[in-house]
């Protein structure tokens, strides 16, 4: 399965298992979603289980919270993560705090799915990576898969989780693992082992990172599309790096990170989002605080530039393996 099919399968499995799961968002019903992620679900499970919503991100998340408080497990889609901001108040002021402020009386077990990230000539409003603005919010969880197997297992875990989960889907790798090389033909998932996705129910636990490649020379922390960019950088440079796919931003698998850095003594952090106050800053601070005496070199952050996401400059902006290689080489000299 590619990533689109895997996510579709997760939704299909959960609609089948739990009558309290329902899906809505813009164009997700009859049409099956602009990325085909909800294709066939309305037909198979009925229009009440998977339906179209008005173009109102705030309204979608607000009603989902109300449904969650009632006892349902709504899975809503925000068509692009760039358009999640109208719902930011609902996510931050309401979903994230409902359990806390009500002394545990109410909570919102909602999942907010949203395609995110660049590399597709999406310009300023179809490319952004907003994970850091959610990571800073106590009460939210944020999950970002990097392959079909994880996408399905993590999404099922997110839907079953009793806390609100932002589930960001790297749309650049919906159909194949993109490594940042625009000059090479893009492969599809079929050749990738993680495209082996069971048809039925399984979960990948939230808060557990995966080691995408074992290595000893340097630890590379990445998630989403950047996992593939990092793996490509490792392959091209021949550096024996350990690539960790975080999978969850929150909860963060700190132990896996620390264990790896204490072994390699070097750390490179890679994300598409802008650098300043990006999630890499938090990762860097955590590693510095807890691995200070192990580190042989300054921690490197390879990230998007601190500009809005540009259109014509896509290939200058989207970070590819070359920048990761340079950063790894710098830490090895350090």
């Amino acid at each position: 399965m590619n990533m689109v099919r895997a996510i579709n399968s997760a939704l299909d499995v959960m609609l089948g298992r739990d009558p309290d799961v329902l899906i809505f968002g813009e164009d997700v019903g009859y049409f099956g979603g602009v990325f085909r992620v909800t294709d066939g679900l309305a037909e198979r499970h009925g229009v009440a289980r998977c339906f179209d919503a008005p173009i109102s991100e705030g309204g979608i998340v607000a009603t989902a919270i109300g449904m969650g408080a009632y006892g349902l497990r709504p899975v809503v889609e925000i068509q692009f993560a760039d358009y999640i901001l109208p719902a930011y108040d609902q996510l931050v002021s309401e979903a994230a705090r409902l359990r806390y402020r009500s002394g545990g009386e109410f909570w919102a077990p909602i999942t907010v799915r949203s395609p995110y990230g660049g590399g597709i000539f999406g310009g300023q409003t179809h490319s952004s990576s907003p994970e850091a603005i959610f990571a800073h919010v106590s009460g939210l969880k944020t999950v970002i898969p990097s392959n079909p197997y994880d996408a399905k297992g993590l999404l099922i875990a997110a839907i079953e989780d009793d806390d609100p989960v932002i589930f960001l889907e790297p749309k650049r790798i919906y159909n194949g693992p993109f490594d940042g090389r625009f000059d090479r033909p893009v492969s599809n998932w079929a050749q990738h082992p993680a495209s082996e996705v069971p048809e039925g129910y399984y979960t990948v636990p939230l808060g557990k990172a995966a080691i995408a490649r074992h290595g000893a020379a340097v630890t590379v922390l990445a998630y989403g599309t950047m996992v593939h960019v990092a793996l490509s950088a490792v392959e091209e440079s021949g550096i024996d790096a350990e690539v960790i796919d975080l999978r969850s931003i929150v909860p963060l698998d700190l132990d896996s990170i620390l264990q790896s850095v204490r072994k390699t003594r070097r750390c490179v952090i890679v994300h598409e989002a802008s650098r300043f106050a990006g999630f890499g800053a938090e990762l860097s601070a955590l590693v510095q605080e807890r691995c200070f005496y192990h580190l042989e070199a300054p921690i490197e952050r390879v990230a998007g530039w601190d500009t809005p996401y540009p259109h014509a400059f896509e290939r200058d902006y989207f970070l590819g393996p070359d920048r990761v290689v340079v950063a790894m080489q710098r830490t090895l000299k350090g």
Partner: protein, 409 residues
């Protein structure tokens, strides 16, 4: 050169300001009983005059007149009266407690007690109210323990919300009262989602939600009405128009151009405009909308027309922006006085009984306040410090575990 005159920028201002004589001459008050009562399942296009009327039952002499008389029994009327009087006594005591430094903050609902009390009596315990912060009367009408309210206001060791919330941002699930939040309007859409969920499950529960007239300007208002209309959610969406949003008169929220109830028309929803100081009218209109919702007729928008008698909060001085005696001139009077007069007119009540009840509710509040003070007032007592870290997530992650340890709790 253009032949058009220069454009003029319009900023609405209230008719009067501090030092002026109160003037409510622009408010048209139709006689009680003069607004028709349509069938609860009437088609929306046949209801478009309703948002411009004013549902009123109690006339100037306290008689119940016209098609909206809900026909409540004397005991139900007394229950409503008691809830309103209890609210007023509670507000008065808690305002005073704030001035004595026993709490950090308070907001009274003086003049608006009928809105919460009457709607509360229409909705059941299984239904859910998504309230504003000015609706403690909703809880008073269903006998929520006064001591729990007071402990929340004092943020003491017995605070049901464990010291996490500003005073009066209550949560009372078992009483059908949803968690409040300081950011206005953001629960209006939750009510719609909750109602959609009830319909989705084939249940019988409905939701009611409130927003102030000032907050109707938020996007949440538009979103909630759109979703309520599109999915025919069994929800009653209410605007409490008390004329004031802190210092801004209702014209700043768009109230000079049309009524807030009339917003419903553009969404294809019924809109009712109701005398918010008339307990019987509030009850009857809510019952109409509840019956409509329960029979799959979908949502209704109700504007409760009332007046915010007191300051916005303990942090506000209303004499800085409106005449000090404006409340006394409010043409719809006082909700407690009007229901009292009605009950006396029925022969079911007397001035002496009223005074007795007033003393009784004041005594109940005083006793509860004393109990709350015995637990502790602000700063003298608080829940266990570990409560900072509970309920952020269902299960704490390592950050929370570490930080709790760092706090030493």
């Amino acid at each position: 050169m253009s032949n058009w005159p220069p454009l003029r920028f319009h900023v609405p201002v209230p008719a009067v300001r501090p030092g002026d004589s109160p003037d409510f001459s622009h408010i048209v008050v139709p006689p009680a009983g003069s607004t028709r009562r349509p069938d609860v399942l009437a088609a929306e296009p046949d209801l478009r005059d309703m948002p411009y009327g004013l549902v009123r039952v109690l006339d100037d002499e306290g008689g119940a007149v016209g098609p909206w008389d809900p026909g409540l029994s004397p005991s139900e009327l007394l229950r409503g009266l008691r809830a309103m009087m209890l609210t007023r006594a509670f507000d008065s005591r808690m305002f005073q407690s704030h001035r004595q430094g026993k709490s950090s903050f308070y907001m009274t609902s003086t003049g608006e007690e009928a809105v919460g009390a009457a709607t509360s009596m229409v909705l059941g315990r299984d239904d859910m109210c998504f309230p504003t912060y000015r609706m403690v009367s909703y809880l008073m009408a269903r006998d929520y323990p006064l001591l729990d309210l007071i402990n929340q206001i004092f943020s003491n060791a017995d605070d049901p919300l464990k010291g996490r919330q500003l005073p009066i941002l209550y949560s009372a699930r078992k009483y059908g009262f949803y968690s409040l939040s300081g950011n206005v309007g953001s629960r209006f859409g939750h009510a719609v989602g909750w109602a959609m969920a009830s319909a989705y499950k084939g249940d019988h529960k409905i939701a009611i939600s409130f927003i102030g007239e000032g907050t109707t300007a938020e996007g949440d208002f538009h979103e909630a009405l759109t979703f309520a209309s599109v999915y025919r959610a069994p929800v009653i969406l209410c605007v409490t128009n008390n004329q004031w949003a802190i210092s801004s008169f209702q014209g700043i929220a768009g109230g000079n151009e049309t009524t807030f109830a009339a917003r419903a028309i553009g969404y294809g929803l019924p809109g009712l405009r109701v005398d918010g100081n008339d307990f019987l009218a509030v009850h009857a209109a809510t019952r109409w909308a509840a019956d409509r919702a329960r029979s799959n007729g979908g949502a209704t928008l109700i504007e409760f027309f009332t007046y915010r008698v007191a300051g916005h909060s303990t942090s506000d001085d209303p004499t800085r922006y409106r005449p000090a005696d404006e409340a006394a001139h409010w043409p719809l009077g006082d909700p407690v006085d009007r229901l009292k007069t009605h009950l006396i007119g029925l022969g079911d009540w007397s001035d002496a009984q009223h005074e007795e009840l007033e003393a009784a509710v004041r005594q109940a509040v005083r006793a509860a306040a004393k109990s709350g003070e015995a637990v502790g007032t602000l700063g003298q007592s608080k829940p266990d410090t570990s409560e900072i870290f509970e309920d952020v997530y269902k299960e704490a992650d390592w950050r929370i575990v570490e930080q709790r340890r760092e706090m030493g709790c």
